[in-house]
Amino acid sequence: MKDQLTKYLMMLGDNAMILGHRLSELCGHGPTLETDIALTNISLDLYGQVRSYFQYAAELSGEGVTEDTIAFLRKERTYLNVVLLEQPNENFAHVIVRQFLYDMFQSFLTPALMRSTDERIAAIAAKSIKETKYHLRFSTQWMKRLGAGTEESKSKIQAAVNHLLPFTDELFVMTAVEKEMLEQGIGPDLQSFKEDYYIKVQEVLEQAELSLPEAAPRVVKGKTGIHSEHMGYILNELQYMQRAYPQMEW
């Protein structure tokens, strides 16, 4: 049970970390200073959540395990984030759509986690709910701006939606870890808000004058540690210092 909880915390933390990492790649390269600052803000919020989850996981794991060994010293197959969040910053439209699809998911997951029987998780969720709402507002606004902006922005963001939406199915897959968490009352039944999620997504797409693609869901299994080819390169950077200079204080 403790093992499963630790894995669940990693799952939650890995999602925040991998998305935070992708956003941090953009710091200093944004289309305007204001968006640069806003995306960095989101990245900072996400990394704050990462620390909360990993610190908790480290406490459960005992001797020699820290937030940093969890973040930086695992093998790829034990990272449990969804594949959606590994997708690269192809262009600003991809960044926004990826963010929006995740934020919308978090807007269901976070309130559910606030009701977790695990007080620590409930507290972390309660702390991040404001951030989640702000992130969703930001990404939704940009969905609309790009969707209803110019012909070019519309075609770019529609292409990003078409590419990324099929990855969202994985968000709702109940892995063994999540089933166990559901049984313990620690985590929610993800299927319970799947329909509402897609209704909300479609609402925003309509407001953004975009259409819902009919593509079939992608078969991806990031939550069981089977990632895309992007993941190795992300970890390469993420883990560089800890691998090159093992067991040092920074």
């Binding site: 600052i37 990394y47 990462v50 973040a71 993420l238």
Partner: protein
């Protein structure tokens, strides 16, 4: 009616009396131009300065350090914003300033044309580069142009936080393994001289100093500021247990200052002229952000135009309704 000479005299009197000049006040054309140049270059330095440090965000060695660095680089973007806004009060747009940066018409601090090669460079930059910047900027909090002085007050607080954070990174490295300490020493060796160059040419090669002093943009000369920086930094390096990369550094009892060796001014001018190790890459990165962002900025503009058009329409309808013209 006042003639220009009277205006100029009164203007100088106001500055001498310690009054702040505000954007709508009369000012000599040269004062305006000098400020546009200096403030925009300062803004560009903040923005270009994000690049060398941004280079280590994805590779930061711990979560805590990653958050610290992300927040720092974000602060620099904020500094850029305040400063562009301050310059805009003088009648130039942010886009215009950006174009001047991209075409090379406007400069930025040369220090950012050096590469960040190890994690210790992030420590050294915070300690030395933000440290040197603070010395300049504390002086600028009392400059005569109001918006610039006020921007500096906000910025200085954050810069001193950056400086402490950088020094703390160095301290951690110096208290770490021999390998870490060597990394710190190497970073100091590479950053020291370019940091000294941040104060600009020697006084005898700095023809604008006198005018800048009169307008209180400067209260101390380049060489005075540089000396101040050396005097502060040498004991800090000692505390870290690092060796200064200048054999001529020695306390001079008589002067009450540290003596230090000659700066390689050839290198300085080469880097200023665009031939530093990373000048091309820095501008290319800013150009790419600008080009890649064009369609995004266009979309945002088009969207807000559409939105206000719609609002106008619906307000129009409401107005007609309230006037009873339509049901």
């Amino acid at each position: 009616m006042d003639n220009i000479e009277n205006l100029a005299t009164r203007f100088q009197e106001r500055i001498d009396a310690g009054e702040k000049i505000e954007p709508k006040d009369w000012m000599p054309e040269k004062y305006r131009k000098t400020h546009i140049r200096q403030i925009s270059q300062h803004a560009h330095s903040e923005i270009v300065g994000m690049l060398p440090e941004g280079n280590w965000i994805t590779r930061a060695p711990s979560l805590k350090r990653k958050l610290g660095l992300l927040a720092k680089v974000q602060d620099e973007a904020g500094h850029g914003l305040y400063l562009y806004s301050a310059a805009e009060t003088l009648g130039i747009s942010r886009d215009e300033m950006t174009q001047q940066l991209l075409t090379g018409k406007a400069k930025y601090s040369s220090i950012f044309n050096y590469p960040t090669l190890t994690w210790a460079d992030i420590g050294a930059i915070g300690w030395l580069v933000d440290g040197a910047a603070i010395i300049n900027q504390v002086m600028l909090t009392r400059t005569s142009f109001g918006p610039y002085a006020r921007a500096m007050v906000r910025i200085c607080k954050e810069e001193s936080f950056h400086q402490r954070q950088g020094y703390e990174i160095m301290l951690t490295l110096c208290n770490g393994t021999p390998e870490q300490k060597e990394m710190a020493q190497d970073a100091l060796n590479r950053t020291w001289w370019p940091a000294l160059m941040m104060f600009g040419p020697r006084d005898e090669d700095s023809p604008n100093t006198k005018q800048s002093m009169a307008w209180k943009i400067k209260r101390k000369t380049n060489d005075e500021l540089r000396q101040q920086f050396v005097d502060i930094t040498v004991p800090q390096a000692e505390f870290l247990g690092l060796k200064m990369p200048d054999p001529e550094i020695k306390w001079n009892e008589e002067r009450g200052h540290y003596d230090f060796g000659a700066i390689d001014w050839d290198e300085f001018w080469q880097v200023v002229k665009g031939n530093g190790p990373c000048n091309k890459e820095r501008i290319a990165a800013r150009q790419k952000a600008w080009d890649d962002g064009q369609w995004v900025r266009d979309a945002a503009l088009a969207y807000s135009a559409k939105k206000s058009e719609n609002e106008e329409k619906s307000n129009g309808i409401k107005a007609q309704r309230s006037e009873g013209k339509i049901a």
